[in-house]
Every structure is written in structure tokens, then in C-alpha cells.
Symmetry: C2
Subunit: 398 residues, 2 copies
């Protein structure tokens, strides 16, 4: 049996999304900017896709949703645009973010620090999140931007976006959220949360890879990351990925309908909880950040004595795909930054395994996965020099 | 009959390209960076695609070809990367380019000028190109980069890339070429031409939209435009568009085989010449930049008394898609910058119509197009206030 439990890394494209995209490769292939029917043939479906995107995140008509190549582009764009507009050519010099953002935020912030920008990385608490008042405490007169993720990619833990939005409005500071892991998992309402910008990627919600978006509230300036042609109202040059945009719209429609969100909240959550509870029955296991206030599909579990990468290889032998954390960091062997943020000791820092589910998973798959995961834990603990022979006191010190 | 003559704006995806991409939406959908077979299942075809890209542009194995979202990203990346590396954090402050680059270059240069970078825009000569020695004359001690397109998108005119590469090597200046309109139309050899960087877009050579590449010669530093995960060896963060990359590789293989280039040079050129010669039989028509030294598929023709946009609308009624110039600029009514560069008077500046062919065009289509184009010219001249009643001396002043 094949069981895909790595949906926070990427997702299967929904068959109906692919069907919506298909005509736009070999049949309706014109450039949407062209003044002929080959180009204009794309307009109706592109407009419909935009409608789905606006509806999906509850944007106002006068706001902009700009099609990008994905959340990495969107995140880089916001941070570098604000750097140029508000810091290089303005009076501001400070950005507030967290220690557990996706690398597209943290690596970009490190780059900006080299350019003289001051960045505050808020640490997360034991629940893997921050309290909104912390943001208020760290906003300064020269703060240009607050950038805080909606849901963490590794733990699924949620951040208090609505309260932070309220604080940013009071303090008159721009507010961005990387909503990549939130879309399709919980309601996202950019207006209610007073957001100026959000980033997202289609491939995290059963759309295609290589396409995403940046929401920009009406009236917000943001120097382009891509200068050039006048596409996207001059906000983002380059021929639009027509098929990708249409696929993303279709995917957004599918995952943000009330029925779909309820299915995520009930069905997917039940599968995740079943899997998680079965692993927690084994001793010396713990859910990083605890089980409250998470996206319904994600669990990051630390399994003492089991090196995360070894676990992945063992599961892979049994057809199960999981992750030690963000796929964006998984080719190197550095300790997972989220595990570090939780203050895990150096041994525990490498023991996290992330299971992230989707609506495509079945109870049968989860039962199969539980059996294989339990087997893997026993096998790997049996050969672990740090666990198998450790004193009982050590084992339960978790 | 439908006749698509706007292949410099974008192209139909080849059916076999789409077939190569298809499994990577709903079947083999893992993240290539993941440590499981769902991700690893993508590796073989991705490696093959890279092989096709390296072969297609004759890159050395130790060079990098980074997958981007298209030439607009690649162009922005080179210019902004060089700005940060060599100008902001270096001793250089000058860039040499031409007046007729794609907006992704010229608009980015305008942005860099606002940041204090000095840019020389070389004018083109009456043949629509530059002579290589001009570049030598304008390279200064503080020149960081020469960026000159391989082939112009509007006229198809070629630039002396090999000679300019030789000059840049002698002068020890980085050399970039936007090769978007060259790939698949003539041989592109990055090593022989001493290039440090070239940009390209898959959708200009029968690959998908939303994916392209940046060639980076071995050893060349270039600060990323997208910071984040470690994809592409840390050069460009973000989950790779797996299907797009595989499609681009397949498209590159198809268009750069010796047979394909010969077909372009013979078959496509013959169709283009037939179309062009038929239009030139009508009085007061001229090929902008002349007929020598062009890509085989393109002609930009000025037809006195015929407003380009009116011509497009007329042709569109007959199922023919053409352009007044770059689709990237065609939503506004500014005079075509290439026409301006040729010193066209204000009346002629709006009379250019670009026909750009591909291997999918047939002789039957071209014959149909010729008939309709001639009819349109007569119709539009008949209602032109500046042409129909103009003295003969004016008409032949072209």
C-alpha cells in the first residue's frame, strides 16, 4: 500500500483541477495580453479563477491578488519590496517576524540583515506559537513590517492572526502573513484580520506547482520583484502561467467551500487524531507544541531514540511518505529549526517526524500506517545507542 | 480558418511536451526534495530534463542552469543580483544594454537607475542591431555587466553575441544575454559565446508558460532573487515546478535537435519569406530593420496609412492572430519602442505589424493570411485620413 502523509510538503493535484487546466496547454494557448482571440480565449477562465481566489480568502474587489510562481516568490517580494520602499527609501528600518517562519521568510530576513535591516525574530512559546501582545511589545516607531505565518508548516500550530492584525492597525504597521499552510485547512479572511499582504502556493492545496499568489490590500504600494511588462496591472511582469492560474483558482474553489472546510475539520482531523493517538500510546513520544490550536491535518511527533531520517527511510520501505519537517530544508541534516525553537536537547532535536494528511487519505491507509510506524519505532529503538541501553530515568525525561 | 502568427508572444505547447508533463500533476506529485519515493519518483525525469537543457544551449556540466518562472524572472535576477553584488557591495556602478531590449530588461534598468546605477542604452542602427565594437567603446572601468539580447522579439534581428562575448572577456566584464527569442530558432552555444548568463522562457519554444531558466557559468556569484529553501543548490528557493521543468526539457530537446533547427531555417523561413514578400508587393510597406540577419520566423512590417491596432482587429475578424510588437507592451497604446528606435516619424511609429511563425504553420495558412492581409491593407488605407488623401510624394516618402 502507498500512503502519502506529506501534504505540507506538496499535494496531489486534484483531478478536476487538472481537467480545468488541460485545454490551456495545446488548445487555448494564446498570450492573454495579445489583441486577438487566441489570447482573449483565456480571459473568461482567468477571470473566473480570480473570482475563486478573491472569494477563497475573502478579499475585497478593490484589493489585488497577484499571480506569482509560489509563496517563496510572494514572501521574497513582500520583504524586499518593503525593504526598498520603507527602509532604503524611507525612515523605517525594522521588521518583526518569528523564529519558526518558513525559510522563504527567515533566509530573506537574514539577507536583509546583511543590508542593514534590523529584524526581531520572536521565539515561540511551549505551545509552539506566540501571544499577540508580544508583537505589540516589539513594534517600534521604525518598524516597517510585521510578518507572521498563519499556520506553521511543521507543527500546524496557529498564530493569533486576527489579534496581531488589530495591533498592527493600531500601531499603523504593515502586516503580512505567510498563509501557505492555512488555505484550505481553516477559514482565511484577509479583511477581518486586517492583513496588508498574504502569500500562498497552489501546490499546498491540490493545485499545481509553480504558481501561487500575493494578496495586496487596496492602496498598498509595493515595488515589484519582477519589473518588465505591464501584466498584473504593472505589479508583476512576465507572461502569466495561464494553466497554472486557472488550476489554482479551481483548487481554491474546491478547498474553501464551506463543505470542504467542514470535511477538513471533521474527516481529516479524525484521521490525524487516530494516527497521532496511536503513536502517543507508545512511551517517550510527544507532540511538539501540544495538540491544541493546530491545522486539522498536521502532527509533528518527537519519538525519543528514533532518528527522524532513519524513521523516514524505514517508512519509505513500506510505501509511506512522511517528513522530518519542511521539505525545503530536508536535503541537509541540520536540526529542524522548529525543534530547536522548542528548546529540544541536541538528542531530541533530530527525533521529529511530521505526518501531514489530506482529504485523499482513508481510514484503511491510516490503519496500515499505524501498524508500520509502530513497527519502525520498535526496530529503530532496538538499534539506537542512545535509547536501547539508556536508563529508565533518561527515557522518561522527555 | 485559424492562423496563429504570434509565436514571439507565446507558442502552442507541443503535444509530446504535454504528454511528458502529464504524469506529474496527479500521479507523480511528490516534492523532489522529500526523502521518500513519492518525491524521488520525480528525479529521473528531472535529471533528463536538465540534460536536455544543458545539451540545448551547449552548457558545460559544471555550469548551472537554474529553473525559474520564466525569462522575466531570469532577467530581473541577473540585473538585481549584479546590482547587489557588484554595485551595492562592490566598486562597480555601470551597466551597458540596448534601447531595444525586452521590457523585463529596460524596466528593470530604469528601476536600477532610480537606485543610483548608471545605465548606457545603446541605440540600434538602421539594420536594427548594434555593431560589436560599439559595446567596447562604452565599457568603462566601473562597468559591472553588459546585457544584450540575442534576437529582438519584435524584429527578429540578431545581435553579434559571439563578438560581444569576446570583448567582454577581454575587458573582464560580466556578459548576459536574454536569449528568449533565440532558443529553437538558431544554434545557441553559451560557451563559445563566452556568456556568463542567459535567460530563456519555455513558452517561447512550445513548452509551458510559467517556467524558464537562467544559465549561470561555473564560478559566477549571483545573489538569489528568491531566498529560502535550498532548492537548486541554494541558488533559487521554492518548490520546483516539476511538470513545467520536465516540459521545458522536452521542448528544448525538440527544438534544438539539428533536424529541428534545419527545419526552422528552411521550412519556417520559407513560409515567413513568402508572407513577407507578398506584403512587400504592396506599395509603402517596409520591413523594419531590413531582411538580413534575422530569426527565420519573424517579420515586423511598417504599412503606411495602416494603424497597427486597427490591422490586428481586422485580421482577428478573419481568424488571424498577429501583434503590433511585444505582447508585454500591447495592452497600452504607447508607440512601439523598437519603431521609435528606428527613428520612425510619429505617424509611422504606430504602423508596425509583427508576424511570427512556427513549425506548426502551413503553406495553406500562409496563403490564406496573405489574402486577408492584403484585403485589410486596402480596407484600412481606404478609411485612413492620413493616407487615402495624402499626396503621392508623401506616400512614397517612406
Amino acid at each position: 500500500m502507498k500512503v502519502y502523509l506529506d501534504n505540507n510538503a506538496t499535494t496531489k493535484v486534484d483531478e478536476s483541477v487538472f481537467e480545468a487546466m488541460k485545454p490551456f496547454f495545446c488548445e487555448i494557448y494564446g498570450n492573454p495580453n495579445s489583441l486577438h482571440d487566441f489570447g482573449a480565449g483565456t480571459h473568461k477562465k482567468m477571470a473566473q479563477a480570480l473570482d475563486y481566489l478573491y472569494d477563497g480568502i475573502r478579499a475585497n474587489d478593490e484589493d489585488d491578488i497577484v499571480i506569482t510562481s509560489g509563496a517563496t516568490e510572494s514572501n521574497n517580494w513582500v520583504l524586499k519590496g518593503v525593504w526598498i520602499d520603507e527602509i532604503m527609501h524611507g525612515e523605517k528600518k525594522h521588521i518583526v517576524t518569528t523564529e519558526v517562519e518558513h525559510p522563504a521568510i527567515t533566509a530573506t530576513c537574514k539577507f536583509l540583515e546583511q543590508q542593514g535591516v534590523e529584524v526581531t525574530y520572536l521565539p515561540v512559546n511551549e505551545q509552539g506559537t506566540i501571544e499577540a501582545h508580544t508583537v505589540r511589545d516589539f513594534i517600534r516607531d521604525d518598524t516597517a513590517l510585521v510578518s507572521i505565518m498563519w499556520a506553521n508548516n511543521e507543527t500546524g500550530k496557529l498564530f493569533p492572526i486576527e489579534e496581531i492584525g488589530q495591533i498592527c492597525r493600531e500601531k499603523d504597521v504593515l502586516f503580512h502573513s505567510d498563509a501557505t499552510q492555512a488555505i484550505g485547512k481553516l477559514p482565511v479572511d484577509v479583511v477581518r484580520c486586517n492583513l496588508d499582504f498574504i502569500s500562498f502556493s497552489a501546490h499546498k492545496f491540490h493545485g499545481p506547482k509553480g504558481v501561487g499568489g500575493l494578496y495586496i490590500k487596496a492602496g498598498r504600494k509595493l515595488t515589484p520583484l519582477f519589473h518588465g511588462g505591464e501584466q498584473m496591472g504593472g505589479r508583476r511582469a512576465g507572461t502569466v502561467d495561464v494553466a497554472g492560474m486557472i488550476g489554482m483558482g479551481e483548487a481554491m474553489k474546491l478547498v474553501t467551500s464551506p463543505g470542504a472546510l467542514a470535511h477538513e475539520e471533521n474527516y481529516v482531523r479524525a484521521l490525524r487524531d487516530k494516527l497521532e493517538n496511536a503513536i502517543l500510546e507508545m512511551e517517550d513520544t510527544v507532540v511538539i507544541g501540544g495538540t491544541e490550536n493546530r491545522t486539522p491535518n498536521t502532527t509533528l511527533i518527537s519519538i525519543r531514540g528514533v532518528e527522524g531520517e532513519a524513521m523516514l527511510w524505514d517508512l519509505n520501505q513500506n510505501g509511506i511518505g512522511a517528513s522530518t519537517g519542511s521539505a525545503c530544508a530536508s536535503e541537509d541534516l541540520e536540526a529542524n529549526p522548529v525543534m530547536n525553537a522548542f528548546g529540544s536537547d541536541s538528542e531530541l532535536a533530530h527525533t521529529g517526524v511530521r505526518f501531514s494528511l489530506s482529504r485523499y487519505n482513508t481510514m484503511e491507509e491510516i490503519e496500515y500506517a499505524i501498524e508500520k510506524i509502530k513497527g519502525a519505532i520498535k526496530r529503530l529503538r532496538g538499534i539506537s545507542s542512545s535509547y536501547a541501553y539508556a536508563p529508565e530515568s533518561h527515557k522518561s525525561g522527555l
